[in-house]
């Protein structure tokens, strides 16, 4: 495997580089897991600034591009191979598809009266977080600044070039990272379905993606203090899954239980959706994990194969646990097992051997399975078990990465107790930051606008109440109304009640 110096995670030689002082020079960025080449530019004083004339949101003056390439080749290893760029574009699209998969996964698990609302909570993240991440989120995570928070050098996509100089082009690096922020915010929705107001949710993920997600991405990936300490997170066990899982549990606690929780059986209305969603998530996760190698190289192959193997192990263990408990393996169980396995292998994907991936996948099934059993009987209405799958699955994965990491398979260090300690510290930081940030944001939004839908809306179902649509309708009894005849104002949501018929 040829090593290209601007992205590095999976080659043993990186271990030595990691030891270099974490000054804002080019060096720590090389050790960084995901250093978009031009993304790092703004903060690397040692490097000649590339003269790309660009305005906000990256509208480049094309004439400037050749100059940019010439400048960089003087400082960097040259032009990014076409194969790398092609793979990273495909990987980005795959991660986007995960959000769709998640919508189906969650949509199948809720009652039919809330399926559109639940799926929209995932879909709307594509829009809301796409905008916040382009505006400031990406810059706060991946441009200069301190070890705690990035700067505003790339705010509004300023200075991100479509040309790569060895690494992933800055503009493509943004797109890849943006899809991670989208899926992370969408994951939270599973804990608050069937009761949270849609507007309040949109506001929440808009703020959360900037105030909680971006700093955490900075700490772990953007050259922040956890990265400098040597915490390993290949594709987002800490930043994405522990973060989303903890935020989900906190938000569910603050919002309170669904009114039917503990009184009525609230069953999944469309289990095939959930299986479809789990399959799409697995498919997209190849981009999530193997794309995190930042190139089409041996590290990507390791991550790809591990993404295949770990969930396979989790799925089998999950089915066996189901079987041993009451003699029947369940479809919802298999779908959940797949997700837990994917979560667990995420931080380890490019750092462990295939055998290690199988072990991580198998072991990670146990704590999540146990927690889901407990949660269903508890008073915590984390409705779709986001904390058990992503929080606990992420913690299992992060800790096991510390044990199973192997230089021979691409990790910068071999696993052991010391690395386990570093991983535990990163887990604790992620839990603390996510819990505190989520709590404050939800409190703030709660002051401005109610977080919960009213009792009547909750009983009626949020699809009709909040969106004016039904998922499954044959149009019987629906009278076509010319828009001009609609009663104005609040009547449009439902006219005044007529007298008793």
């Amino acid at each position: 495997m040829t090593r290209r110096s601007s992205r590095a995670t999976h080659v043993p030689a990186d271990a030595s580089r990691r030891a270099s002082p974490p000054a804002p020079s080019h060096a720590p960025r090389q050790a960084a897991r995901r250093p978009p080449s031009s993304g790092a530019r703004g903060a690397a004083p040692g490097r000649a600034p590339v003269r790309v004339t660009s305005s906000a949101f990256g509208i480049l003056t094309l004439a400037a591009l050749p100059a940019a390439g010439a400048q960089a080749s003087a400082a960097g290893p040259g032009v990014t191979p076409a194969g790398d760029i092609a793979w990273m574009m495909v990987a980005t699209a795959l991660v986007l598809l995960m959000v769709v998969g998640l919508a189906f996964f969650y949509g199948g698990l809720v009652r039919r009266k809330n399926v559109l609302n639940s799926m929209m909570m995932s879909f709307v993240s594509l829009g809301v977080v796409g905008l916040t991440f382009a505006a400031v989120g990406y810059s706060l995570a991946f441009s200069g600044g301190s070890a705690v928070l990035g700067g505003l050098a790339h705010a509004g996509l300023r200075g991100l070039s479509p040309v790569g100089h060895g690494g992933v082009p800055g503009l493509l690096g943004f797109a890849f990272q943006a899809t991670f922020a989208m899926i992370t915010a969408a994951l939270i929705s599973g804990a608050v379905v069937e009761r949270m107001r849609f507007g309040a949710y949109m506001l929440f993920i808009a703020i959360w993606s900037v105030v909680v997600y971006a700093p955490l991405a900075k700490w772990v990936w953007g050259g922040g203090f956890l990265q400098q300490l040597g915490a390993l997170d290949f594709a987002g066990g800490t930043v994405v899954h522990i973060n989303a899982g903890v935020a989900a549990a906190v938000l569910a606690l603050m919002l309170g239980r669904r009114r039917d929780y503990g009184h009525k059986a609230m069953l999944p209305h469309q289990v095939p959706f959930t299986l479809l969603g789990a399959g799409l998530l697995w498919f997209g996760w190849f981009g999530f994990n193997a794309g995190s190698a930042q190139a089409a190289n041996a590290g990507a192959v390791v991550a790809f194969v591990n993404t295949l193997l770990a969930p396979a192990a989790t799925l089998v263990v999950w089915a066996l646990l189901d079987l041993s408990r009451d003699g029947r393996a369940t479809a919802v169980g298999l779908a959940t097992g797949i997700v837990v396995g994917l979560v667990a292998i995420t931080p380890a994907a490019g750092f462990v051997s295939p055998a290690g991936a199988l072990a991580i996948g198998a072991v990670a099934a146990l704590p999540s399975y146990a927690l889901i059993l407990w949660r269903a009987r508890s008073r915590l209405d984390d409705s779709l078990d986001v904390f058990a799958a992503h929080g606990i699955g992420g913690i299992s994965g992060a800790l096991l990465t510390g044990l199973f990491a192997s230089k021979a398979w691409g990790a910068p260090v071999d696993g052991g107790l010391a690395q386990l300690g570093v991983q535990a510290l990163a887990v604790a930081c992620a839990i603390g930051a996510s819990a505190a940030g989520t709590f404050l944001i939800a409190k703030l939004i709660g002051v401005l606008t109610p977080l919960r839908a009213g009792a009547q809306h909750e009983a009626e179902g949020l699809d009709v109440a909040l969106h004016g649509e039904e998922a499954y309708t044959d149009g019987e009894g629906a009278l076509l109304v010319p828009v001009s005849r609609l009663e104005p104002g609040p009547a449009a949501v439902g006219g005044p009640a007529r007298g008793e018929a």
Partner: protein, 119 residues
Amino acid sequence: MKLITAVIRKERLNDVLSALFQAEVYGVTVTPVRGHGGEREAVQTYRGMTVKMELVEKVRLDIGVTEAFVEPAVEAIQTGARTGSVGDGKIFVIPVDRVVRIRTGETDSAAVTPEPLPG
């Protein structure tokens, strides 16, 4: 014997069933139905096509009871189904000429609620 027919909100079905079982009324047939009872009309929009949903999804219960159970059953349905808003539904109590329990051939009062629970 009476046939009690009730049309109630879908989401109150569980509450009504528990209330009925508490009143020891065990024989019940449940049907999903759609109807119009003067509640607010929901306006829905699908890609610019605006429609008024004139029919609301409801649940219909049919319960055959002996005279002694008419009042408890009606009471139980009201307890379980009432929210206080328009759209809670209706209860109809209808005289019945004849009832046959198919399994045993029993007729009339012997064929309707309550059937003593086995054991």
